[in-house]
């Protein structure tokens, strides 16, 4: 299940807010793939996807009753996912700082390509890994079709600044991608 009509989504969110487990499950099913893709594009690690997605959806269900504008659900969910990814990367950076020996086992080291992956996917993964985490998040949000106003609000910058930053990030991504492919 990928797209729900706005009115159906609104109803679903309201039911989930009231604690209806079926509605909560439907919301998870509806968004799990998009959230997984979003997380993967920011973290670049397959082994982080399920854990972080679980964190995001647990936070979502716990915080749903406090969501004042159910119509803003999607924007709210992706903001939550973005924050979870940035926190995760920040935690990893601190961990590496205090235990540098673990550096070889974890994190920033790009995921090795598998035989199943295509060259295009490898190139994109490589290109994303060259960007700053916040730029990755920006591109992932844009890829998700979030509006510029929403992204600007989420990053606490003006729409003009956001456009410039997004343009720069996309250009960098394209260059790294073309170089890698």
């Amino acid at each position: 299940m990928d797209n729900i009509e706005p009115t159906a989504l609104l109803e679903l969110v309201q039911q989930a807010q009231q604690g209806h487990e079926d509605a909560q499950r439907t919301l998870i099913v509806a968004y799990q793939n998009r959230i997984a893709g979003f997380i993967y594009s920011i973290t670049g690690r397959s082994d982080s996807v399920e854990d972080l997605a679980q964190v995001v959806f647990i936070k979502m269900i716990r915080a749903l009753p406090r969501l004042d504008q159910p119509a803003q659900f999607e924007a709210w969910l992706f903001r939550m996912a973005r924050n979870a990814c940035i926190d995760h990367l920040r935690r990893q950076r601190w961990q590496r700082l205090f235990s540098p020996l673990e550096q070889e086992e974890h994190a920033e080291i790009p995921e090795p390509p598998t035989t199943v992956d295509s060259e295009e996917l490898d190139a994109l993964r490589h290109a994303l890994s060259k960007l700053k985490p916040k730029d990755r998040a920006l591109i992932a949000l844009a890829q998700e079709g979030r509006s510029q106003q929403e992204m600007a609000d989420s990053f606490g910058i003006s729409v003009v600044a956001l456009k410039a930053r997004l343009h720069r990030a996309r250009e960098q991504l394209r260059q790294f991608y073309e170089h890698a492919s």
């Binding site: 099913v29 793939n33 997984a36 594009s41 295009e120 996309r170 394209r174």
Partner: protein, 97 residues
Amino acid sequence: MNTPPESRAWQQLQRHAAAQLSADFPDRVLRQIRVSRAERSGVARFFLHPFAVSAYTAAACLLAVVILHSRQTAKANERHLAEWREVAMQTASLDPL
């Protein structure tokens, strides 16, 4: 409209990421929420148990007694010290030398 060269790769990335989720992912999330709710209510039950409430009350009373006692002791010490100073001054003034 120009399609970016990496657009097909984005679709592959999406599929790859989605494949990382286990088949029972939604159930796992909901189960985890139920478990943590049960744990939290267990902790709340523990802290609201009548024995626990009695223990907090007793501990609070004991703390109050200790604080009160230490304040009274400090005041008594100050008073005694002042009295001793006065006695010492009076003794000094009676000294024939």
